[in-house]
């Protein structure tokens, strides 16, 4: 039985071009079923990740604020 | 200790100077730069100034003549010595004298009527006193 790959994208401390571009990079190599966990400190990330989900039609499993970072968990479902 | 060759230092300085000249030359050959600078320097506003330059120069020359400078200084000193009440009266006098915004030439009858208005004549009085004080 194969488990879908889970990858952590550490985008903490980055503000330009921003955590979304780190996500895009990981997205390039990801396959449907993979789970990406993104860490960011840029406060704009919360609204940006929601916008990305809306455009790409992937699944946002969780979006939470931890003490020192924002964590987003994305399940890849929309890759062609 | 290394010996500092004076000739070498001199040639280095000369070379440095040459490089600076090269750079200035580069700047002067830059069409885009020159276009931008001339656009900045010559605008509608600056063109007006350039056009009126002879009059502006004349005005500056008049203002800076010794006797005019002295008069301006006198007025400034006077204003400083006036008490607040007097200044307020002066201000009101000028306001009352203010002719219509549209600068339409007033008819003679209108001028006579304006002159006889109480506020205006009060104001005129103040101005006359002021001028007397200046002794011009």
């Amino acid at each position: 039985m194969s488990t879908a790959a889970k990858k952590v994208v550490d985008a903490r401390g980055l503000s330009c071009p921003g955590p979304i571009t780190n996500l895009t990079k990981a997205y390039r190599d990801a396959k449907n079923g993979d789970v990406l966990e993104i860490w960011a400190t840029d406060p704009g990330f919360k609204s940006d990740i929601k916008a990305w989900i809306e455009r790409t039609k992937n699944e946002l499993v969780d979006l939470r604020e931890e003490k020192d970072k924002i964590v987003a968990i994305v399940k890849i479902t929309a890759k062609k | 200790m290394e010996e500092i060759n004076e000739a070498e230092l001199q040639s280095e300085s000369l070379e440095r100077l040459l490089h600076l000249v090269e750079m200035v030359n580069n700047i002067l050959k830059d069409e885009e730069l020159l276009k931008a600078i001339s656009k900045l320097v010559v605008s509608e506003e600056t063109f007006l100034v350039v056009d009126r330059l002879p009059q502006i120069i004349k005005l500056i020359e008049q203002l800076t003549r010794q006797e005019n400078l002295e008069k301006i200084e006198l007025i400034l000193n006077l204003l400083q010595s006036l008490d607040k009440q007097m200044l307020e009266k002066l201000g009101n006098a000028f306001k009352a004298m203010k002719i219509e915004e549209k600068a339409k030439p007033m008819s003679i009858s209108k001028i006579i009527v304006t002159l006889s208005e109480p506020e205006v004549s009060k104001g005129l009085n103040v101005v006359l006193n002021l001028l007397k004080a200046l002794g011009s």
Partner: protein, 395 residues
Amino acid sequence: MAEKKKFLIVGGGAGGAILANSLIKDFNVTIVNDTPNHYYWPQLLQIAFRNDYSNLYRPLSSLLAKGVNLIVDKVKKVDLQERTVTLSNNKLMNYDYIAIAPGVTIEHKGIEGNDKLVEQYGDFHSTPQNASKVFNVVTNMKKGTFLIAVGDPYHRCPPSPYEGILLADEVFRLRGVRNDINMVLAVPYPRAYPAETFNEVLEPILKERGINVMTFFTADKIDIENKKITSLEGEELSYDAAIVIPVHKGPKIEIKPEDAINQDGFINADKFTNQILKYDDAFAIGDASTSANAKTGVTAHLQAKVVSKRVLGFDARNTGRTNCPTELGFEEGTFVISDYNHPAAKVPANAINFIMKRLFADAYWDIIRHPEFWDPIFDVYFENTQPEVLWKLFR
């Protein structure tokens, strides 16, 4: 008197040349460059949209201070453990200190169809020949969709896609064909410019000039036959002429140990000190290094200064300062000014900024050649234009 230590510099671009000229008093400096020439890469934009080749390159030897040893050759391998560098003919050189600054490798094959696309329409991130192809396009195109799409968000010069589309817009307007051309800029970001603050300056300008911005679009596949570009995010854009900003990878140099480079070939360097891993005698600066997000000449310049101070015992550190001149066409410009602790200030667009960009470009060769003269001038400039100062000025 003690013999000077050997400092070896790989790459004679902005970072390498300024570093060499800054170290010459205290070190025995050797610089290795793969060609005899030093290129001012921002000129590619001027070639692409103005057919202006002046200021493109000069012989590297004319830019190096007396006493710097120049070797024109390719570096095949760097061994940080053994402290050796292998040249193309397998000649081995050793060093006391090394700075690796060979820049990026442009990989058109990184996006399917990009190598064919660049043959047709060119681009302004690779070679002067490809840039001249762009000029051909903008001076001949009469109607249709003109598209600039970012294929790699970590490309050289963050403002360049915006400069490209706005300068193209200028050319089309001057030619009187602008109304028949649909201009599109496709970017991978959630907004036109990734940094939200600077986007507030740039987005209105793009809108005013009628540029259609497509966000969340990372160019992934180019269908040459049908003239369509598909994005990673699953969308499609048609074009009549298109320029894709290509994939950028690290230098084609074998570096040992392997963990000194990341999966894209860039050298893992500390973001404050430029030091490579635990090697306190090895640095990576400029585009080839991971020590800054912005791949610009200013970054390389500032990093070179930090390295030159660190090797003399000073605790100089990168501030992450950017100072990217952004041309907007019609003799106007702005700057992207930020650092590690401050987002980009909202520098307004005006003619003075454009003039400053051009003055800098014209002074570039002198700046490379005489850091001892320009250092104090830049110190004053950078001090007085710190992002925190600018934030107070331009709210």
